[in-house]
C-alpha cells in the first residue's frame, strides 16, 4: 500500500532514496509505525514522535492506505 511520509530536521536524511519526491512511499500492508521507522533505518534512540493525519499515535499503530505520517525526533530537547 502507499502512504505519505514526512520527516523533519534531524530525520530528513533517512528518507533519501526511500521516500519519493512526492513524499509517497510503498509499504507492506498493515505496517506499524515502529516497523515503518525500522524500514527507514531510523535508529531507536533518540526517541520519536509519530503523527498520523495530524494526530499523535503510539508506535504500535497500524497504518492504512493513504495515511499521512509525520515522524519527528529530538536533538536534545531544546
Amino acid at each position: 500500500m502507499e502512504v505519505k511520509v514526512l520527516l523533519y530536521t534531524v530525520l530528513k536524511k533517512y528518507g533519501e532514496g526511500k521516500i519519493r519526491k512526492d513524499d509517497r512511499m510503498n509499504v507492506p500492508d498493515r505496517i506499524t509505525l515502529e516497523s515503518l521507522a525500522s524500514l527507514l533505518d531510523i535508529p531507536d534512540k533518540p526517541g520519536k514522535v509519530f503523527l498520523v493525519n495530524g494526530s499523535p499515535r503510539d508506535k504500535e499503530y497500524i497504518l492504512q492506505e493513504g495515511d499521512e505520517v509525520k515522524i519527528l525526533s529530538f536533538i536534545g530537547g531544546g
Partner: protein, 628 residues
C-alpha cells in the same frame, strides 16, 4: 595551610570584594571542602549556606553574589567555557543559580581565582576590573541607563581591550527588575533574577583579564582524556544536530510531542512550530556560533530580521526557549516580532523565558479584565498581538505603568493584582515556567515540582529528554532503567528515576561544563576522567553522582532554612490537567493523576521525610552534611 594548598587544577584562591568599603581580600580555598563540592553550583551552595543568614532580603546588602568556576573551566576542556552565578533569588526567596556560557569563567580563573564573592553595596554605581589578579574599582555613573552591548563596548573602550571579558547588567538590573539578567555579550546568566541582585549592589559590571596557566596534575592523562572526549563529540550525531539546528530545531518535535506549552499552558501543543521553524531556518538564521572560544559544538544562533517594523541587527539569540516564549506562550505566530522581542530582552537585560511567561500571564489577565488599557497606556494585550511583545519588554525593564507590577514576576504580580489572577500565574516556587510541558511525560512533572530553583529549563529538562527523547546519559549503570522500556505516560517508578537523573545531571552545573556535552555523549565517567587528570584526585563516575546528591541536598537544605517544605514541591494545577485544545486535547494519558504519589515515591528514594520533604538525619550523615 602550607600542606593543604592546591597545586593542580585549581587556582587555589578566591577573591572577596566588599563594595561598601571597596576592600578586596584574597583567601586560600580549603582543598578538603573543594573535594566535597568541586566547584560551580556545588561550591557556591556550600559558600552561601555557610555565609548567608536565614531570611535576608535578597535585594539587601546582606545578600552575596558568587561567581564560581571549577577545575574544568578552561577553553581547552570540552564544554569548559562557562561561569556559575549563585545567590539568594529575589524572585523566589529560594536558592538561586544561573549559569552563563562564554569566556568570563576561564578568564576569571586565568586571573588567579576559582571564585569571586561580591558583598555589601556600593554607594555609587561602580564596575570592577580584575586584571591578572589586580583589582580596581571604576566609577560607572555614566554607564547607567545604557543598553547591554553599548555598555560592554564602552567598558572595553575605557579599558582599551576590545576582547576583554565583561559581564554586566542592563537597565532592568539597574531597576531591580526581578527577572533581570547578568549578560556576557548576548549570553545571559538569565534565571532567578541574578541581575536584580547585582543591580541592588550598585554593581554595573565586572571585567576580567587573565593570562596565568593552571597546571594539571597529569598532563599526559589529561591529553588522553580530552582526545577521547573529542572523539566522542566528533562521532556524535547529537553534537552535529545541535550545530546545524541549534536548540531552536527542537521546536517542531516538541510541539508534536505535546511538550510545547501554548497560550499560557492552556495546551501542550499548537501545530505551528513546523512553519515557524522553517521560516526561522530559511529567512533569519545567519550562522551558528560558539558561546566560548573553542567550543566544538557551537549550537548558538546568529540571527537577524533584515527589515520591516521588527528589524534587528545581526545578533546572537533565538534559542529554543526564547523563541517558544515569544510565540507559543503568548499565542503569537509573527516570528519576526518574536525575534525582535528576544533581542530586546538581551539589550535591556531581562530573562526571555520569564518575560514570555509574564506577558502570557498579562494577556490572560487582560482577557479577564484584570489588566485594562488604562494600566497599559492603551496598549492592547490581546492574545498574539505582536506589537505588545517589544512594548511590554520595555515596560517591564523600565518599570513603566503595568510593567512595574509585572517586573516582580508572575507570583508576586498575581498577588498584587488579585481577582483570581493567581490561577493564571504559571510558576514553580516563584520561577516562571519554561517551554517544556509536564504533560508530555511524567518525569518532567516531578522534576519541575522538586527542582531547587523552581520551574527552570535546565534541571527539569532531563525529565522530558528521558521520557520522550529516550536519552540515558550513561546513567543506566547507576540505576535508571533503559528509557526505551519506560512508557512516558506512566507515573509509577518515575520518583526513583527522577532521583538518579537529578544527581547525575547536576554534575555539569557543579563542574561548570555545558550540559549539552552530556547530551552529545560526554558522560559522568568522561568528566570524572578529565577531573582526575586535572586535580590528581582519583574520582570516578559514582563519586561524581554522590557529589551531585550532596549538592542537591545542600541546596534543598538552603531552601528548607528559608521556610520551604513539601507544600512548595508543586506544579500549577493547569499543568496537571488535560489540555484545552491542540493535538493532545483527547489524550487522557496527558493528565497527571497522582502527583502526590509520585512525590512520595521520590521522597522515599531520596531518603527524605514523606510529610515534610526534609532530608533525614541518616541521609545527611551519609552525605557528610551532618552539621546541617
Amino acid at each position: 595551610m602550607g600542606k593543604l594548598r592546591f597545586r593542580y587544577g585549581y587556582a587555589g584562591k578566591q577573591l572577596r570584594i566588599s563594595l561598601d568599603r571597596k576592600k578586596c581580600t584574597t583567601e586560600e580555598i580549603n582543598p578538603d571542602v573543594m573535594r566535597k563540592y568541586l566547584g560551580g553550583a556545588g561550591y557556591g551552595a556550600r559558600l552561601l549556606y555557610d555565609e548567608l543568614p536565614k531570611g535576608i532580603d535578597p535585594l539587601s546588602k546582606a545578600n552575596k553574589l558568587v561567581f564560581v568556576t571549577s577545575p574544568l573551566t578552561d577553553n581547552s576542556i570540552p564544554g569548559g567555557g562557562s561561569i556559575m552565578l549563585c545567590f539568594k533569588s529575589p524572585l523566589t526567596n529560594a536558592w538561586g543559580e544561573s549559569r552563563c556560557g562564554g569566556d568570563f569563567g576561564p578568564d576569571l580563573k586565568r586571573s588567579g581565582f576559582d571564585a569571586l564573592i561580591i558583598e555589601d553595596k556600593s554607594q555609587d554605581p561602580v564596575y570592577i576590573f580584575i586584571d591578572d589578579g589586580e583589582v580596581s574599582f571604576k566609577p560607572a555613573g555614566h554607564l547607567v541607563g545604557m543598553e547591554v552591548m553599548k555598555k560592554i563596548r564602552a567598558i572595553r573602550d575605557e579599558l582599551r581591550d576590545s576582547k576583554i571579558s565583561v559581564m554586566c547588567i542592563g537597565p532592568a538590573g539597574e531597576n531591580r527588575v526581578k527577572i533581570a539578567t547578568v549578560m556576557f555579550d548576548q549570553r545571559a546568566a538569565g534565571r532567578c533574577g541574578t541581575g536584580a541582585v547585582m543591580g541592588s549592589k550598585n554593581l554595573i559590571a565586572v571585567a576580567v583579564r587573565g593570562t596565568r596557566k593552571i597546571n594539571p596534575a597529569h598532563p599526559d592523562k589529561l591529553n588522553e582524556a580530552v582526545k577521547k572526549a573529542m572523539k566522542v563529540l566528533r562521532e556524535s550525531e547529537t553534537a552535529a544536530n545541535f550545530r546545524k539546528h541549534g536548540t531552536t530545531g527542537d521546536m517542531v518535535a516538541n510541539d508534536a510531542a505535546g511538550d510545547w506549552p501554548t497560550k499560557n499552558w492552556h495546551s501542550n501543543s499548537w501545530g505551528k512550530a513546523e512553519k515557524l521553524y522553517e521560516q526561522f531556518y530559511n529567512n533569519h538564521l545567519v550562522k551558528n556560533h560558539g558561546c566560548y572560544r573553542g567550543c566544538p559544538i557551537a549550537c548558538g544562533r546568529i540571527a537577524e530580521v533584515k527589515d520591516g517594523k521588527y528589524k534587528t541587527p545581526v545578533h546572537e539569540g533565538s534559542e529554543y526557549e526564547s523563541l517558544s516564549a515569544f510565540t507559543a506562550f503568548v499565542f503569537n505566530d509573527n516570528l519576526e516580532a518574536a525575534i525582535h522581542a528576544t533581542y530586546l530582552c538581551n539589550e535591556y537585560g531581562i530573562d526571555t523565558i520569564s518575560a514570555g511567561g509574564i506577558i502570557a500571564f498579562a494577556m490572560e489577565c487582560y482577557e479577564h479584565g484584570i489588566i485594562t488599557g488604562q494600566d497599559t497606556g492603551g496598549l492592547e494585550l490581546s492574545w498574539g498581538n505582536p506589537d505588545a511583545l517589544p512594548a511590554l519588554v520595555k515596560m517591564i525593564s523600565l518599570r513603566e505603568r503595568i510593567g512595574d507590577i509585572l517586573a516582580e514576576g508572575v507570583k508576586i504580580a498575581a498577588e498584587k493584582l488579585g481577582r483570581g489572577a493567581e490561577e493564571f500565574a504559571m510558576h514553580g516556587k516563584g520561577l516562571e515556567a519554561p517551554a517544556h510541558d509536564g504533560r508530555s511525560g511524567k518525569v518532567l512533572a516531578l522534576t519541575y515540582g522538586t527542582a531547587n530553583r523552581g520551574m527552570c529549563h535546565i534541571h527539569p529538562l532531563e525529565g522530558m529528554v528521558y521520557d520522550s527523547g529516550k536519552f540515558d546519559w550513561g546513567l543506566m549503570k547507576y540505576g535508571i532503567p533503559d528509557p526505551n522500556t519506560v512508557e512516558r505516560w506512566d507515573e509509577k517508578g518515575k520518583g526513583r528515576i527522577t532521583k538518579v537523573l537529578q544527581d547525575g545531571l547536576i554534575v555539569p552545573d557543579i563542574l561548570n561544563t555545558c550540559k549539552f556535552f552530556m547530551y552529545a555523549g560526554l558522560y559522568v565517567d568522561h568528566l570524572a576522567e578529565i577531573l582526575s587528570a586535572l586535580t590528581g584526585w582519583d574520582i570516578g563516575g559514582r563519586e561524581l553522582l554522590k557529589v551531585g546528591e550532596r549538592v542537591f541536598n545542600l541546596q534543598r537544605m538552603f531552601n528548607i532554612r528559608e521556610g520551604f517544605s513539601r507544600k512548595d514541591d508543586v506544579i500549577p494545577e493547569r499543568v496537571k490537567m488535560k489540555p484545552a485544545f491542540g493535538m493532545y486535547a483527547d489524550e487522557e494519558r496527558c493528565a497527571i493523576k497522582d502527583f502526590d504519589g509520585m512525590l512520595e515515591e521520590y521522597y522515599e528514594a531520596r531518603g527524605w521525610n514523606i510529610k515534610t520533604g526534609k532530608p533525614s538525619s541518616e541521609k545527611l550523615r551519609e552525605l557528610g552534611l551532618e552539621a546541617e
